[in-house]
């Protein structure tokens, strides 16, 4: 589904994630927060950088540590689309990865796993 080459992209607040090189950046318009979006084959990555972002607290999930900071990590079904998501309180942002095929799950997990925060 994706090749071996991945690129690291920078997000607000010193956050970065790695995404497959063949993903293309989308022209996403944030309502009231900066959003960034990349898409690949049946997979979309959306970053919402805002204290108003989805805290994901209504979904079953786990607290995981990224670069020493706790984040909420969940996955849930949204009308047939699987969503893997992580929310950080500081810096406030939510990354939601939507996959439309089961092969995308390992890609989504790898993207979330790549999340790092620099001081």
């Amino acid at each position: 589904m994706v090749g071996d080459r991945w690129e690291r992209v920078r997000l607000p607040g010193g956050v970065s994630i790695a995404i497959p090189s063949e993903f293309s950046s989308d022209d996403a318009q944030g309502m009231d927060s900066p959003v960034q979006s990349w898409s690949g084959d049946r997979i979309n990555v959306l970053i919402d950088s805002s204290p108003m972002s989805d805290h994901l607290d209504r979904y079953e999930g786990d607290e995981e540590e990224f670069s020493g900071r706790l984040a909420r990590v969940v996955n849930f079904d949204d009308a047939g689309t699987r969503v893997f998501a992580v929310h950080l309180d500081d810096p406030a942002l939510t990354i939601a990865i939507r996959i439309e095929c089961s092969e995308g799950e390992s890609v989504a997990r790898a993207i979330l796993k790549s999340l790092t925060i620099s001081e």
Binding site: G30, M31, D32, S33, D48, S53, H55, T94
Partner: protein, 351 residues
């Protein structure tokens, strides 16, 4: 092992205090609330447990999962004198991790600066208010003068209260208690009038006012973004697009913030309130309650403890009436005492 108390805390000697109480001890409480981000300097009367101080105490209690009453009670004092990190809990009084509801359910709004991009932008925003009002037991009343809760207008992108430069369409704020922009009223709903073109309806390279207003008013009532695609509270939007109806995801979020039950009715025979959804309501005036001419009343239902609200109002399964469950000996018109078995916990505004 018992937790250590700070031996030097100036709060140690401060006794219980409620709204309206005065004294030097209150000033110590206020200094504590300022230090930890709950009270803004200069907005309160020093030494008086005034409305602002009581609101700050309520915020402190809520943040620390204490019973919320806005008073400096024994429970609050015990926690306040426990040694703790010196960093503020709240950033400028703002708790980024929570969303919250208004403690009043009747809100007012006003428009100020229009946009020159289109005609009908105010009506579009009014429509968005109506859409939310149909989903939750909140009322929104337009008030052309006087203090209002929400102020709507179009601003330059470099809006001083929250910059919209660089791509966002608009901004709003959460309710008091979980604000991210301002702790004072009115709460803003500001549209970027510099970098985007506004329309009524879907047009190329333009954004529909009602679509964006509906999203911003979702924040105003306390909703954060939703990761559910297609929801009004989804964080992104397209030009040439309209989304003017709430989805199940939006309404479930709003109902969680403002839990209520409808179909409570006024009985014109006894003037009492009873639940109209079950058979056999017994009226103390004889026979069954009669809801002829009644409106459809919504009661706050199983809400969290909220200042200004009184809980423990109960439904009686025998007569279908509403009664206060906190006192002994409630007399039921169906005979004996009221029976709250199976009742929710209803709350009424109590000033």
């Amino acid at each position: 092992m018992a937790e250590k108390k700070s031996p030097t805390s100036p709060l140690t000697a401060v006794g219980p205090a409620k709204k309206g109480d005065t004294g030097s001890g209150i000033e110590n409480v206020q200094n504590f609330l300022i230090r930890f981000g709950y009270l803004e300097g200069g907005v309160y009367e020093a030494g008086n447990l005034d409305d602002e101080t009581s609101a700050a105490l309520a915020k402190y209690q809520e943040h620390n999962t204490l019973p919320v009453n806005g008073e400096f009670d024994e429970t609050t004092r015990e926690l306040a004198i426990t040694p703790r990190c010196g960093l503020p809990d709240l950033n400028g009084g703002i708790d980024f991790s929570t969303r919250c509801a208004w403690t009043k359910w009747s809100l007012t709004y006003r428009f100020d600066v229009p946009t020159s991009d289109c005609v009908g932008e105010f009506q579009a925003a009014r429509n968005a208010f109506t859409t939310w009002a149909n989903a939750v037991p909140l009322t929104f009343t337009e008030d052309a003068s006087g203090a209002v809760d929400i102020l709507i207008g179009w601003r330059p992108a470099n809006d001083p209260d929250h910059s919209m430069v660089g791509g966002v369409l608009a901004h709003a704020d959460f309710p008091p208690g979980c604000s991210i922009i301002t702790n004072t009223l009115p709460k803003p709903v500001h549209f970027d009038d510099s970098e985007h073109t506004w329309s009524i309806g879907a047009f190329a390279n333009q954004f529909d006012v009602e679509t964006v207003a509906l999203h911003e008013l979702g924040h105003i009532i306390g909703l954060q973004h939703s990761s559910v695609a297609g929801s009004v509270m989804f964080p992104s939007v397209s030009a040439n697009f309209t989304k003017r109806a709430l989805t199940a995801d939006d309404t479930s979020g709003a109902e969680a913030l403002y839990p209520s039950q409808s179909n409570w009715r006024w009985c014109h025979k006894c003037q009492g309130l009873f639940f109209g959804g079950n058979p056999g309501p017994v009226c103390p005036a004889g026979g069954a309650h009669d809801k002829t001419g009644s409106g459809n009343y919504h009661l706050a239902h199983n809400m969290v403890v909220t200042p200004g609200w009184q809980s423990n109002w109960r439904w009686c399964k025998k007569c279908q009436g509403l009664f206060f469950g906190g006192n002994p000996g409630p007399v039921c018109p169906a005979g004996g005492t009221h029976d709250k078995t199976g009742s929710g916990n209803y709350s009424l505004i109590h000033r």
